[in-house]
C-alpha cells in the first residue's frame, strides 16, 4: 500500500483491483470494499497505510474460524477418526494425505491411509510411496476395484487393528460429472455407516490457482461429501487463493490447512491473520 496518502476514490479503485486479482471475485470484492469504507469511516482512518491495515483486519476476521483439522482423542473409545480427502483432478489430495499422515504419526498416532482412487494411472503406487515416506500403514487396492468397498475394507481393518485415524484418498473428479459425484456420495455413506458423525472430517482440497469455479466445487462437493473444511494447496506459487474468501462468505466453509510445497513437511495449519496479510502483500 502507498505511503501517507489520502483515502480517496482512486485508493478504493486500486484496492478493488488488488482484491479481484486475488480471485475473490467481483461481488465479494465489492462486499469487502463496503466493509472497508465502514471501518475507515468508523476509525477515522485518514491515510492509506492505516486503511490497508484495516483491510487486512476485515479480511482476517472474515476468514477466521474456530474449526481445526481433527485430532483424535486417544483416550476416547471412539476409534478411528476418519479424514475424507476430496477435490477436483490434480488439486493435491494424494500429496496432502501423505503430509497429514506424517503429522499424525509424529503425534504418536496409529495411522492408516486408504487408497480409494482405483482408477487413475499409478494412483495407488503414488499414495503407497507417500505412506512409506510418512511411515504409516497402507490399505491398497486392486486397480479398478470399487472405491466404496476399498473404503469399507479399510475401515474394518482400522477398527480391528486399532488405528487412531484413517485418511481416505479419493480420485480427482469434476463436480459436473454426475456419476463421479454419485460415487463420492456412496463413499461418504460407506464411512457414515461405520463411523460416528463427529469422528469424520470431510475436506475439499482446492488448488490456490483456481478461479470462480472453486465456489461451485465447494457447493457440489458439499452436497455429496458433507464438507467440514478446505485445504488450500500450492500457496508457494504466485496465486493467492482468494477464492477461499468467497467460499467463506457464501457458505461459511473455513480453510483448515495450507499446502506450501511438494515435500512431506510442507503443510501448515491455516492462520487467518497471516494469510490475509500475505493476500495483500
Amino acid at each position: 500500500a502507498a505511503a501517507r496518502k489520502g483515502v480517496d476514490d482512486s485508493f478504493y479503485d486500486e484496492i478493488q483491483q488488488v482484491l479481484i486479482e486475488t480471485d475473490m471475485g467481483y461481488e465479494v470484492a465489492e462486499e469487502v470494499l463496503k466493509m472497508l469504507r465502514r471501518e475507515v469511516g468508523a476509525r477515522g482512518a485518514d491515510d492509506t497505510a492505516e486503511a490497508c491495515d484495516l483491510l487486512v483486519e476485515v479480511i482476517g476476521r472474515t476468514l477466521s474460524s474456530p474449526v481445526k483439522t481433527l485430532v483424535p482423542d486417544v483416550s476416547s473409545p471412539n476409534k478411528p477418526v476418519v479424514i475424507l480427502m476430496t477435490g477436483v483432478n490434480g488439486s493435491g489430495k494424494t500429496t496432502v494425505c501423505g503430509k497429514l499422515a506424517k503429522r499424525y504419526r509424529l503425534l504418536g498416532l496409529k495411522v492408516l491411509i486408504v487408497a480409494s482412487d482405483t482408477f487413475r494411472a499409478a494412483a495407488i503406487d503414488q499414495l503407497k510411496i507417500w505412506a512409506e515416506r510418512a511411515e504409516v500403514d497402507f490399505q491398497g487396492a486392486k486397480e479398478g476395484a470399487d472405491p466404496s468397498s476399498v473404503v469399507y475394507d479399510g475401515l474394518s481393518r482400522a477398527k480391528s487393528e486399532g488405528h487412531d485415524i484413517v485418511i481416505i484418498d479419493t480420485a480427482g473428479r469434476l463436480q459436473n460429472k454426475v456419476n463421479l459425484m454419485n460415487e463420492l456420495g456412496k463413499i461418504r455413506r460407506t464411512v457414515d455407516k461405520q463411523i460416528e458423525p463427529d469422528a469424520i472430517q470431510s475436506l475439499l482440497v482446492i488448488d490456490s490457482t483456481t478461479g470462480q469455479n472453486a465456489i461451485t466445487q465447494a457447493e457440489v462437493f458439499g452436497e455429496v461429501a458433507k464438507l467440514d473444511g478446505i485445504i488450500l494447496t500450492k500457496l508457494d506459487g504466485t496465486a493467492r487463493g482468494g477464492i477461499v474468501l468467497a467460499i467463506k462468505q457464501r457458505m461459511g466453509l473455513p480453510v483448515l490447512e495450507v499446502g506450501v510445497g511438494e515435500t512431506i513437511n510442507d503443510l501448515v495449519p491455516f492462520d487467518a491473520a497471516e494469510y490475509s496479510r500475505s493476500l495483500l502483500g
Partner: protein, 292 residues
C-alpha cells in the same frame, strides 16, 4: 445471462430516450463484470472493454432495436478474434523427427496430455516416443508408462532419480537411432517462483530443437493465468498452449488471459480423463463458453 442483463439495462435507458454513450459505458461495465466472473484477468478484461468501446458507441449499437444483442455480438466477435479466429495446426510434419516439450504448473494435466498427443499422432501414422523427465513426483515415471501403454506407444525406459537433462540427451539419441517420428517430453510440474526448477526447464528448452513447446494450463485457473503464462513465456519461451479439463464447468477466461499476454495460440483442448479426449482448440466455442 449477459444478453438479458444488457437488454434490460438498455431497455430502461432507451425507454427514456436515453440510449447514449453513458448507457453503453454501463453495458461495457456489465460485460467487464461478466468477463471477471468468467475468470478473465482484471487487466485483460479492462483492456478488452476499452478496445471495443469505439465500436460499442457506434451506430450499430446506438441505432439498433436490440442494442444489448448488438453489443454482445461485438464482444463475441472480438473474443473469437483475440482467441485466434480459427483452430491452429501444430508444427508437426512427416519425414522428420518432431519433438514436443510439455511444461506447466503442478497438476495441470501434462503427463496425461503427453499420452493423448501420442495417441492422436499415432492415429495419423506417426511413431511416437514418450520421454519421462519428471524424476521428482512419486510414481510419475510409472504413470507415464501406464498411460503410454494404454495409448499403445513406447515410453523411454529410465531408472528412478536420474537427471532430466541427461535423460533428455539419452532419449534424443535413442529416438534418432530407432527412427521415432515424434518425441514427446513430459516434465515435472513447477511454480514460476522456484528459480531452480525454472532454470531446469530453461536448460531443457535450450538443449534441443522443439517443433512445439506447450504450456499446459488448467481451464479453471483464475487471475494467476497471466502471471504464470507471462513467466513461462518470458523465461522459457512457449510456442503453444494446451487447455485442460474443459469437460468441467469452469468458464475458462484463463484462455483469453493466456492468449492476450503471450500472443501464443491455444492449440489443443483436453476434454476428459480418457486418452481419446483431446481436440483441436476452437476459438468460437471458447468465446461462447466465456460469455456464458
Amino acid at each position: 445471462r449477459l444478453t438479458e442483463t444488457l437488454q434490460t439495462a438498455f431497455k430502461k435507458l432507451r425507454g427514456k430516450g436515453l440510449l447514449n454513450e453513458k448507457a453503453v459505458d454501463e453495458g461495457l461495465r456489465e460485460i467487464r463484470r461478466a468477463l471477471l466472473d468468467a475468470d478473465v484477468n482484471f487487466k485483460v478484461a479492462k483492456k478488452f472493454t476499452d478496445n471495443i468501446r469505439e465500436r460499442a458507441v457506434g451506430e450499430e449499437v446506438m441505432k439498433s432495436l436490440t442494442p444489448g444483442q448488438q453489443l454482445i455480438k461485438i464482444v463475441r466477435d472480438e473474443l473469437v478474434h483475440l482467441l485466434g479466429d480459427t483452430a491452429v495446426e501444430p508444427n508437426v510434419e512427416k519425414g522428420r523427427m518432431n519433438q514436443f516439450l510439455l511444461l506447466g504448473l503442478q497438476g495441470s494435466g501434462k503427463t496425461t496430455a503427453c499420452a493423448k498427443l501420442a495417441l492422436n499422432y499415432k492415429k495419423d501414422g506417426y511413431r511416437p516416443l514418450l520421454v519421462p523427465l519428471d524424476v521428482y513426483r512419486p510414481a510419475a515415471i510409472k504413470q507415464l508408462e501406464v498411460v503410454g501403454s494404454q495409448a499403445g506407444v513406447d515410453v523411454f525406459k529410465i531408472e528412478e532419480g536420474g537427471i532430466p537433462l541427461e535423460i533428455m540427451r539419452q532419449a534424443y539419441q535413442f529416438a534418432k537411432d530407432k527412427g521415432y517420428s515424434l518425441v514427446i517430453y513430459d516434465t515435472a510440474g513447477r511454480t514460476t517462483v522456484d528459480d531452480e526448477m525454472m532454470n531446469e526447464v530453461i536448460g531443457l528448452r535450450k538443449e534441443l530443437q522443439f517443433e512445439e513447446v506447450f504450456l499446459v494450463i488448467d481451464s479453471m485457473t483464475g487471475q494467476d493465468a497471466v502471471t504464470t503464462a507471462t513467466k513461462f513465456n518470458e523465461s522459457v519461451g512457449i510456442t503453444g498452449c494446451i487447455l485442460t479439463k474443459l469437460d468441467g464447468d469452469a468458464r475458462g477466461g484463463a484462455a483469453l488471459s493466456v492468449r492476450d499476454v503471450t500472443g501464443v495460440p491455444i492449440i489443443f483442448a483436453s476434454v476428459g480423463e480418457g486418452l481419446k479426449q483431446l481436440e483441436p482448440f476452437h476459438p468460437d466455442r471458447m468465446a461462447g463458453r466465456i460469455l456464458g
